[in-house]
């Protein structure tokens, strides 16, 4: 039985975008803060911090979920994938990112990392989603700039690109 008392720190080791990393965390530290502050991976954004806005969505063992509703200690031994993993090492955008660029699916970009991670998971499960299905997944995110139309188009284009 693993136990982390409130006034102690524990070492959390996880695989972030294919690299094994570890850092100290308190029991109450959220995965969002662990990624950004302890590991320096600031691609994951923090919006509402109660699971509504979706900006902090990451993949944990390949499954899209809210990093702000996950404790850092719960990510022990897990594989975490964040937006930093999407582009090539030389900076070339992946097809989903490129489709976002082509379709003006982002303006300020604050919500974008979370949305990209949601659809990274979803398009693996359902490579050819209907517009309604895309909107359903997108309902787990809040974007205050785009009005969502561009995002829906971008996901449709990305889905076509791997036909």
């Amino acid at each position: 039985m693993r136990r982390v008392n409130r006034n102690e720190k524990t070492r959390v080791t996880l695989t972030l975008n294919g690299k094994k990393l570890s850092a100290e965390a308190e029991s109450r530290m959220l995965l969002t803060d662990f990624l950004r502050h302890a590991l320096g991976a600031t691609g994951t954004h923090v919006g509402c911090e109660h699971g509504i806005c979706g900006a902090c969505t990451v993949l944990i063992d390949g499954v899209a979920q809210r990093a702000c509703l996950t404790l850092a200690v719960q990510a022990q031994g897990r594989a975490v994938t964040t937006v930093e993993a999407l582009a090539d090492a030389d900076g070339a955008l992946n097809p989903l990112q490129q489709a976002f660029r082509n379709n003006h699916a982002l303006q300020c970009g604050f919500c974008t990392p979370g949305i990209l991670m949601s659809f990274t998971d979803y398009l693996k499960r359902n490579p050819h989603p209907s517009t309604d299905e895309i909107r359903d997944v997108l309902s787990g995110h809040i974007c205050r700039c785009t009005g969502y139309a561009g995002i829906v188009k971008a996901v449709e284009e990305a889905a076509k690109s791997h036909e």
Binding site: R2, N7, E49, G54, A64, R66, V73, R135, D136, V137
Partner: protein, 271 residues
């Protein structure tokens, strides 16, 4: 915001989790998917001394077919149940209700039992359990007891769970071949429902109808004959309540419209 400090414990078995609950009782909270609990922690609406994380307990992460009921363990996520191949055939009402629960991203993590134990009055799963006539399995150092949904959920965020008890599973009666309907009204898809209605056709072709969001817990009634009239009368009796999202009158009106619609879904339009 960030949670207040707490001790975090990750037991390996249900037995260990129950022993912790026996020791810490009300000071401890059970963490399964955390999709309701962690927001409350982050907002400091609750300040438990200890979190007991049951999400990695293997024996709780199972969907068991017990013949006349389907038992869903406390670590089973909503998406795991949603993608269970036999769901549509065996639990048509749950299949209809689950897509309304939160969002794709929260269903990946949120558990079926967690939603029922949280007991939000407008939640879909407590309503589906109540209308199905399901049960909640509670275990403690004192033993095991099984409560019908209607006895388990008592009021808004209030259940019959003792401080030393762990909800280890919920049981949905198999409803193969029975018609089922579910619909809700929310400001945006995935938001908390203003009202939600579920219906299931019984073997004697009477209809069990339940409504969430009209009071502190789901209300269930068996309707035979004139469904529209029965819903109208019931809506007036229920009164409803007023909050930021809707007046009591709007809730009653929504129920009057939604009730017959969901009953028609359940009966295949023969209502």
């Amino acid at each position: 915001m960030k949670p207040r400090p707490f001790d975090y414990v990750q037991p390996d078995t249900a037995e260990e989790a129950i022993a912790l609950l026996a020791e810490y009782g009300d000071d401890a909270r059970v963490l399964a998917g955390g999709q309701s609990l962690v927001p409350m922690l982050n907002l400091r609406l609750i300040e438990p001394q200890m979190l007991i994380d049951i999400s990695r307990i293997k024996e709780l992460d199972a969907i068991r077919d017990r013949g006349d009921t389907i038992e869903v363990g406390a670590a089973v996520t909503q998406n795991k149940l949603l993608t269970w191949p036999e769901l549509k055939q065996k639990l048509p009402l749950v299949a209809a209700a689950l897509p309304y629960v939160g969002h794709f991203q929260t269903r990946n993590r949120g558990t079926v039992c967690g939603s029922i134990a949280h007991a939000d009055p407008s939640s879909e799963l407590p309503l589906a359990l109540a209308v199905s006539g399901g049960e909640v399995v509670l275990r403690s150092a004192r033993g095991e007891r099984v409560l019908p949904a209607g006895e388990f959920q008592q009021d808004m965020l209030t259940t019959a769970r003792g401080a030393d008890e762990l909800v280890t599973a919920v049981r949905f009666p198999v409803m193969a071949g029975q018609g089922a309907g579910f619909h809700e009204v929310a400001r945006r898809h995935g938001d908390f429902a203003i009202i939600a209605v579920a219906a299931a056709v019984e073997k004697d072709s009477s209809i069990r109808v339940g409504v969430g969001g009209m009071g502190g817990r789901p209300m269930v009634r068996v309707i035979a004959g004139d469904a529209g009239g029965a819903i109208n009368g019931w809506a007036e009796e229920l009164e409803g309540y007023e909050d930021l999202h809707a007046s009591a009158a709007l809730r009653r009106d929504l129920f009057k419209k939604l009730g017959p619609h969901v009953i028609a879904q359940a009966t295949g339009g023969k209502a």
